[in-house]
């Protein structure tokens, strides 16, 4: 029946209704569009960027494409050095990377995984141009001048047959030509190829390929690239260096995340980091525990205040509310510094305690630059976020419930606990979520009053973003924090129910 209903103009009623609703929806969408756009750009996109950065690792394969490829055949478990082709590939990659100046960035990246690699790369970038491989260049050019002719080279390298015969040479030449155009701003047809191209040509010849113009290479003494690298730094003979490169060569890595939970990729899979490098798990746990303590403190301190506010006349309540909101109106830094003045060992509170005689002068309380300091200062800062939702929920609980409970024979305490408290739980829930989530991500206050023992995971994130520039690790830590918060949110939803959270009304 319903399908046959027609509107006044003869169209089906449903269609007319849908059209009317669509227009409404469109208007609603246009109203929220600016905010939506703003949130997309300033919130959703950064979050996805962060998620991406925490696993992204293209720098290794982009900077050392040939090495990455060559290392695939290397058996890392044997604790032996990789063989010559790997060194050849590294030679080519490094020369090019040094030209592109990307070897130092790569060095910093790998340094997160193995200390010392950064300086190794910096040093090698400078030295790799001075390898003895000019011996090959000379041998070829002396055997036939065509090998010194840029135009001839260009012609050969355009010939598919020759390219198929000389794969290494073609690859090295391509890399060189591309670099030449983009970095040196020169044309390959006018420039003599560099040593590493001749090195590749020599390697192709050694592998039995037919050269465009055959050359007798029996008289050329081979250059050991391994020895050349050793000359730069003995670390190149450390299998661990190669292991690190191989391990972090995939485009995507779980390395940052492993690092975030104090693990690392060892020779036989994932293993714990050395004891003295394990900091993040402790930090995460500390952040959780301290955020919970701050949340607990806020409930304990805020509940009675909110109750008082909700049961006063509006005039008085408004006056007191201003006091509650006062912290919002003073600068965060000023407040935190004030806590420093109050809490430090030579500070006001200690002075008073000493003066009263509760504390000995040489035994002043340590209340700042530790967890106590962080908890005190953050509780103060976050308290309004607990009081406000509590107050607005309590305001909606009519006093007649308490009276009813008492008239039914409940003592003051029972009436409160069984009747009033359950109805204020949504307020507690809202306050706790607010305070906890704010606390978990706070870093200015812990930074200023937390010392070393009272800092949060967010302080490490800030450090990696602004000081160590290890954004991948910062992103991984941030992602873990995000997931933990969502997990807690989910648990909360299961236990209390998220529709049980009220910010008022």
């Amino acid at each position: 029946m319903a399908e046959d209903m027609l509107a006044a103009d003869g169209r089906p009623l449903k269609a007319s209704l849908n059209r009317a609703l669509r227009r409404q929806k469109l208007r609603a969408l246009m109203l929220i569009a600016p905010l939506l756009l703003f949130i997309m750009v300033s919130f959703v996109m950064p979050i996805f960027d962060m998620l991406f950065r925490s696993v992204e690792n293209q720098i290794v394969s982009e900077t050392l494409p040939r090495t990455t490829l060559a290392l695939q055949d290397w058996d890392a478990t044997a604790a032996q050095l990789p063989d010559d082709p790997v060194f050849e590939a590294m030679y080519t990659d490094l020369v090019l990377a040094a030209e592109y100046k990307s070897h130092t960035r790569l060095g910093s990246r790998l340094n997160y995984e193995m200390t010392g690699i950064s300086s190794l790369f910096r040093k090698s970038g400078r030295a790799v141009g001075r390898f003895d491989t000019d011996r090959y260049t000379d041998a070829f050019q002396e055997a036939d001048p065509a090998y010194a002719d840029p135009a001839q080279w260009a012609e050969w390298m355009a010939d598919d047959e020759i390219r198929a015969e000389l794969p290494r040479t073609a690859d090295a030449y391509d890399g060189w030509a591309k670099m030449l155009v983009s970095v040196e701003d020169e044309l390959p047809v006018e420039e003599e190829p560099w040593d590493f191209v001749y090195t590749a040509l020599y390697a192709d010849a050694q592998a039995g390929a037919d050269l465009p113009i055959s050359v007798d290479l029996s008289g050329v003494e081979p250059v050991s690239l391994q020895a050349q690298f050793e000359d730069i730094d003995e670390d190149w003979l450390d299998p661990d260096v190669w292991l690190t490169i191989k391990r972090y060569s995939p485009d995507y890595t779980s390395g940052y995340f492993l690092n975030s939970v104090d693990l690392t990729k060892g020779a036989d899979g994932i293993e714990a980091r050395p004891e003295n490098e394990q900091i993040y798990i402790t930090l995460f746990i500390r952040t959780m525990i301290m955020s919970m303590s701050i949340m607990g403190m806020c409930v304990l301190l805020g509940y009675p205040i909110a109750w008082l506010l909700a049961n006063l006349t509006d005039r008085t309540a408004n006056m007191l509310m201003i006091l509650v909101l006062l912290p919002f109106w003073t600068s965060l830094l000023v407040r935190t510094s004030a806590w420093k003045v109050l809490l430090q060992q030579e500070g006001v509170i200690n002075d008073i305690l000493v003066w009263i005689g509760l504390v000995a002068d040489n035994d002043r309380l340590q209340m700042i630059n530790n967890q106590t300091g962080t908890i005190i200062a953050m509780t103060h800062i976050l308290l309004p976020f607990m009081i406000l939702p509590l107050y607005s929920v309590m305001k909606t609980i009519p006093p007649s419930y308490l009276r009813a409970a008492k008239s039914l024979g409940a003592t003051n305490w029972t009436a409160f606990w069984r009747v009033y408290f359950p109805q204020s739980v949504p307020g507690i829930g809202a306050g706790c979520i607010l305070v906890f989530i704010l606390a978990i991500g706070y870093y200015i206050t812990p930074e200023l009053v937390g010392g070393t023992k009272g800092v949060f995971i967010s302080n490490r994130i800030a450090y990696h973003i602004s000081s160590s520039l290890n954004w991948g690790l910062a992103a991984a830590l941030g992602t873990i924090l995000l997931v933990v918060v969502m997990l807690l949110y989910w648990v909360y939803d299961k236990i209390v129910g998220i529709d049980n959270v009220k910010l008022g009304g």
Binding site: P398, S400, Y401, R403, A404, A405, K406, S407, L408, G409, A410, T411, N412, T414, A415, R418, V419, P422, Q423
Partner: protein, 364 residues
């Protein structure tokens, strides 16, 4: 008048002030025997709720004693008074089911589980809500919530139950059903009830006695018929039912009757209630249905008044006629729609009168 001896509930010269400046309750004296259904009736702000709250223990009397079963309860906290209470907004605990709501007063009294269940079932059956034990208050209609509130106030078998405008939010029909149910229950269970309302019909139909409140005082405390027929002052006369008021001066008092000279010059007979001497000003009150048209049924020497018919309203069971009498335009008479009744026409001039005992000379 208000001897508190043997009374179950007694207010003894109770005063209450919230702000220390004005008395909301002034010199309240009241005593109730066990099992009585007493209604406090009065205009808004007259102090009814305040009295109830003092009795329940949520407000303290500024002066005077409140006695329960002969014992002063001034210093007993609310939860120890054992008084059942029904609130205007029901105050059912929203986070508990109906059964849990009813179980609450029993649990705090440490009553065993099986006994509790039995009592809850009995209480729910009593208000015909046996099938709703598992529901939340929000899933009930207003009338159903009201019944549950009643059941909750009764489930722990209090001897005294207080109800503050329990039917205020319900529609007329539901109110009438529930009025009937509440009175029946109260009498069946033999509980003493103090009921607050500002609906006079409710007060008259339900109560054993009604206390009319105004200005922090009980203006009259009497059974409904007495209250209606024998109001003791002009406030009660005006407040309860419809009433015609004529103003004048007492001219003569002879025992049970007196003669009043109205401001317009006419003379009428009345019962002196609040007047004691000749020359005093008075408000004379006559119920519309006690006014007679013509002399037929009155004494031969009864004083009569000339009246002009202004309006005649046919109301089915009765006729309501508005007259101009002694200079006032809103003198109402009500006559039964009986076959021999004449229907007056606007403009007609008639003579009206009444039995002297139906006409009460009250305070001015």
């Amino acid at each position: 008048m208000t001897s508190t001896d043997g009374a179950f509930v007694a207010f003894d010269r109770v005063q209450k002030s919230y702000d220390g400046e004005t008395l909301v309750v002034k010199d309240l004296n009241l005593s109730m025997p066990k099992g009585e259904f007493l209604t406090m009736l009065g205009p808004s702000g007259s102090g009814k709720t305040t009295c109830l709250m003092m009795l329940a223990g949520f407000e303290t009397a500024t002066h005077g004693d409140i006695l329960l079963d002969g014992v002063s309860i001034n210093n007993i906290p609310p939860h120890k008074r054992g008084i059942g209470m029904v609130f205007q907004n029901y105050a059912l605990f929203p986070h508990m089911s109906v059964a849990e709501n009813l179980s609450f007063p029993l649990e705090v009294r440490k009553i065993g589980k099986s006994e509790r269940e039995e009592k809850i079932k009995r209480a729910l059956d009593m208000v015909q809500m046996g099938d709703f034990a598992g529901r939340r208050p929000a899933q009930l209609s207003g009338g159903q919530q009201q019944r549950i509130a009643l059941a909750r106030a009764l489930v722990f078998e209090p001897e005294l139950v207080l109800m503050d405008e329990p039917l205020g939010a319900l529609d007329k029909q539901l109110r009438e059903t529930l009025q009937f149910e509440i009175t029946n229950l109260a009498h069946e269970l033999g509980i003493t009830t103090v009921y607050v309302t500002h609906d006079q019909t409710e007060a008259l139909t339900m109560s054993d006695r009604v206390a009319v409140f105004d200005d922090g005082r009980i203006q009259q405390l009497a059974p409904p018929d007495e209250l209606y027929e024998l109001p003791e002052n002009s406030f009660v006369a005006q407040f309860i039912g419809e009433n015609n008021t004529l103003e004048g001066v007492v001219q003569e008092i002879k025992g049970e009757t007196c003669v009043v000279k109205l401001d317009s010059g006419e003379i009428i007979d009345a019962v002196p209630v609040n007047v004691s001497k000749v020359g005093e000003r008075t408000k004379v009150s006559i119920r519309p249905e006690r006014v007679e048209i013509g002399r037929d049924r009155l004494e031969a020497d009864a004083h009569m008044l000339k009246a002009e018919v202004l309006e005649f309203i046919y109301m089915g069971d009765i006729f309501r006629t508005r007259l101009r009498v002694a200079g006032i335009d809103n003198f109402i008479i009500k006559t039964r729609n009986s076959p021999d009744q004449t229907r007056l026409k606007p403009g007609e001039i008639v003579e009206i009168g009444w039995m002297p005992r139906d006409c009460r000379a009250l305070d001015a």
